[in-house]
């Protein structure tokens, strides 16, 4: 190996990119609209983790990244930074969601009923054998369905622990708060967190490092209206609808400061249809704000520092991959320190 000439880098990355693009160029034959429809769960995940609601851009990003969803989310985040923010939309209440699916595993019968909707929960995962499911669609009504949360009756009966509301709502994309983190910031971090990381952390609380044992009180998928105050007319206008998933879990009972005993719950919600992420988020919300009974504190999913700083896919992916960058200066420095320590140990033996 000769001396690494300084002009090599330019050519090398150009060629490397060309190789990469050639390797995934088959996507030239695929329309972004095909991705949007056929791979909707991928698209939804990218919108959620990329923190930008655009099915069109998310589909394009999936194509541009050859199906690597983390990279696709990264495209959306980068794009987001070049967009000015118009303002803050009105609060969306997921109870007002036009539901496509709503289930509760806490109650057998609930107001509005169990609506299974589109789900692959009971799909038998046989990759080769495929029989078409024929549905008699006309047996179903096609009117919009709105149902209150299955946990509402418990809340109305004052059985559910409530947390104090933040006085001002954080925007983590404008000011990232220091500890102790406001709840709105924590929820925002989770709403755009990486599904797999959140699943992993939530799972630790289910086996081994916690005992919250969540029961899904209300899990819903559907679309919500986004309302905005028009900057000129100051009228409230509907600017569109977004698909969302929301989940409320009920956990255990906890003694409150006023001596009463209340049911603890957690909430999760994200862009698009992503049940695993919404459930994971609702579990993390529960573990963060309620103490575990058996292991007390010292779990993994009950640690704000742990969750707030380690679930962002764009950040963890970027940093993990940065170890591919050259580190020869730092390694050289480490080697010299090691050499000194080795000599120090040797000198010690002589004595």
């Amino acid at each position: 190996m000769g001396y690494v000439a300084i002009k090599g880098g330019e050519e090398a990355i150009k060629n490397s990119l060309a190789f990469y693009e050639e390797a995934i160029q088959t996507h030239q034959n695929i329309e972004a609209s095909f991705v949007e429809n056929a791979l909707r769960y991928g698209v939804d995940r990218v919108m959620s983790e990329g923190s930008l609601y655009s099915k069109k851009l998310a589909s394009l990003a999936i194509l541009k990244s050859g199906g690597d969803l983390l990279n696709a989310s990264f495209f959306l985040r980068a794009h987001r930074s070049s967009c000015a923010r118009a303002g803050i939309a009105k609060t969306i209440y997921t109870d007002d969601m036009r539901v496509a699916r709503r289930i509760s595993s806490a109650f057998k019968d609930i107001k509005g009923g169990q609506i299974l909707g589109p789900s692959n929960d009971y799909e038998v995962k046989l990759i080769l054998k495929k029989t078409l499911n024929k549905t008699v669609w006309n047996e179903y009504k096609d009117e919009d369905i709105f149902v209150e949360s299955a946990l509402k009756p418990l809340r109305d009966a004052n059985m559910v622990k409530t947390l104090p509301k933040d006085k001002t709502i954080s925007d983590i994309t404008r000011v990232f708060p220091s500890a102790p983190y406001p709840r709105s910031a924590v929820m925002q971090v989770m709403a755009r967190g990486e599904s797999g990381s959140m699943l992993g952390f939530a799972y630790t609380s289910m086996r081994g490092y916690g005992d919250i044992h969540p029961t899904i009180g209300d899990l819903r998928l559907g679309s919500c209206e986004v309302k905005f105050t028009h900057p000129l007319t100051k009228n409230e206008v509907k600017i569109g609808e977004i698909d969302m998933t929301a989940c409320e879990v009920a956990a255990t009972f906890e003694k409150q400061n006023d001596g009463s005993t209340k049911l603890t719950t957690g909430f999760g919600c994200c862009f698009g249809f992503n049940e695993t992420k919404a459930i994971s988020m609702s579990i993390l919300d529960t573990t963060l704000y309620n103490k575990s009974h058996t292991i007390g504190q010292g779990g993994i999913a009950d640690n704000f520092e742990m969750i707030v700083h380690h679930i962002d896919g764009i950040e963890s992916q970027g940093f993990t991959n940065h170890y591919k960058l050259p580190h020869y200066v730092t390694f050289q420095a480490d080697l010299q320190v090691y050499e000194n320590a080795k000599n120090y140990a040797k000198d010690g033996e002589k004595k």
Binding site: R85, V175, A179, I314, E315, Q317, H322
Partner: protein
Amino acid sequence: MRYGFLDEDAKKEIRRATLKAIAIPGYQVSFASRELPIARGWGTGGLQVTLSIINEDDCLKVIDQGCDGSVNAVNIRNFIVSVTDNATTLDTQEATIIQSRHRIPEEPLKEGQTLVLQVPYPEVLTNVEADSFKQKVMHANSDYAKLWVLLYEDTAQFGDSRIGHRYPVMVHDRYAMDPSPIPKYDTRKLHNNKALILLGAGREKKIYAIPPYTKVEPLKFEDRAFKVESFENKKCARCGASGVFMDEVHTDDGTVKYYCNDTAYCDKKLEGKL
């Protein structure tokens, strides 16, 4: 595309954070940190600082591990040029802004220049205290006892600190600071440097600074010398320079050769300009 990629609100915010950082040397100022088209951990903190301070008259130099031609340096330089159309240079003297990863150039910096260092771990206390709230309290109280204990334990076991790079420094007798992963050879250059040194951590969302002519000292016991990397009796196999930070290169025939790590310095030396 907007000049400097970031929207104006973002630039304003980063400039404000930067000004605050300069006003409190060594103190980490939080900022929102935008995602960039370059991955987190690849220099997005430095990039955001550079993109928010650069103007049309600036001449830019980008280095990675001492080298202007390293893939990441090329990539970052190309990106900045694509969103600013600014002039670039390899010459340390010519540059008004130098963005660097893991090195401070061999040629001394001068007044009016800005060195932007990319930072992976801005928090010097991370290895001794993981909780960011407690870290903040420790900084507020100038309580660096845990760092001293770490230094003591290392010295007792290994004769010296085990920290090879990003050696903790004390800035202006007040804040302990992580100087980014520069070798100890470069740590000394932080002291009374004529240039403004800005440090940006994108993923960790922190900006901090060492203004020109600031007292910066490595954290060490007063009866122990601060040992830097040494390349005694080594000469650059290309330009013949000695007494600089070297790359150790293992050749195919099994011999070991040494070259200047700062490639721009090596070029200049070879051309007889130094």
